[in-house]
Symmetry: C2
Subunit: 232 residues, 2 copies
């Protein structure tokens, strides 16, 4: 993730006069590279959000001129695509799963997927707009495979996969967005109470205050899986 230590710097660049303090250069920036650009873009996105990523700021962080980026990268869009994909790799469950435990496998992968996106809150809302990077495809393949083993009919397979996709994406985008505004949520629930009888049911169940996101995600996922492949 962090920039690589040192070594390279344009081969024989004349290095104008070995100065008095050769240790700790002002900034020993390694040369630009796709890798470094993507890693830094992820850092910047994590720190400042989608609106915080500008080509000029990214170049600043990399210690280069803004236009230098365009030699490595087609456009700002491409930076988004690359940053997104770099964040969605799946390494699988800690131990090889029992082959009949399709449910555990699916739940683990989906919770990991969600967790990866929440670690990089800009990623979830970007994904549906682009999708289809190799890391996502692997996850879908895993899903498809597990659901087949679960006995989902071939004709229902795509429906089942998209349902899970929808559920995960909806949950994660929502959570990533709401999180930023905890105060707002309390304020909203208060407004609900003030409005009194217009929304009696959701006011009573404190829908907007419910902040057990992880538990809610898991329970809802169980319901959905139950609908897709009933236990009996």
């Amino acid at each position: 993730m962090a920039a690589k230590p040192s070594s390279a710097r344009g081969k024989q660049s004349p290095r104008r006069g070995a100065s008095v303090q050769p240790l700790q250069e002002p900034r020993g920036e390694p040369p630009l590279s796709l890798e470094r650009i993507v890693a830094t873009a992820v850092e910047l996105l994590d720190a400042q959000g989608v609106d915080g990523l500008s080509m000029r700021r990214l170049a600043d962080r990399l210690g280069s001129g803004a236009m230098s980026l365009y030699w490595h990268v087609d456009s700002k869009e491409a930076v988004f695509d690359l940053a997104l994909d770099s964040v969605l790799e799946y390494r699988g469950p800690p131990r090889a799963p029992a082959p009949q435990d399709w449910r555990g496998e699916v739940v683990h992968m989906l919770e990991d997927w969600r967790a990866s996106m929440l670690r990089h809150p800009w990623s979830a809302s970007l994904l549906p707009r682009r999708a289809l990077g190799p890391n996502i495809l692997s996850r879908l393949e895993l899903l498809s495979n597990a659901l087949s083993r679960a006995g989902v009919a071939q004709a229902d397979l795509n429906v089942a996969i998209w349902s899970l996709w929808n559920y995960v994406m909806g949950a994660t985008i929502t959570r990533g967005s709401f999180e930023l505004s905890d105060n707002d949520r309390v304020a909203a629930q208060q407004r609900l109470a003030d409005l009194g009888e217009r929304y009696p049911t959701i006011e009573r169940s404190h829908l907007l205050l419910d902040d057990n996101w992880d538990g809610t995600f898991r329970k809802g996922l169980d319901f959905l899986l139950e609908g897709l492949a009933p236990k009996q």
Copy 2:
């Protein structure tokens, strides 16, 4: 939606010299108003997408200076909020539903919700970032109500509501985004085929070519509802 016909124009504005063609003024713009701003913003968003809405362009369409908008509206963000809410009203099913038909009621509302957002493709991805306008709250209230009648336990009610929310939002955001790039989807499926054995299952089921969006949405919704409130 369109600008109102005529009448007003700053009362006694001197109207420099009643010219030769008094019919069909250059543009008989009515004065600015929140209503007109919001309606025009929706038009502009429909036509140009989220990135197409700028305060300057919006002002142009309204025949005013860019800064005039700020008298009626706090910021560009506020314009988004208002445009979004204006697009999400629910008028209910065509006929009063049988009170025991909670499922029909839920399905109708959710399909209408999805359809409203697809009519304005910018709206779905905006909603999770803001949520909580009165029109959305009404829809959640309806959901809560129907699910109670369906026999969902009080303790599961919020989970059930958020599950449906997640499903609808995920489905609609995904569809709204993929739609723009039909060619890409075919290309992606082709790439899948080329990659051959890396993704055998989803390649075989033509996951990425499936374009029966409405049917898939409906079937998946049925699975989810079955999980939330089993028929027996």
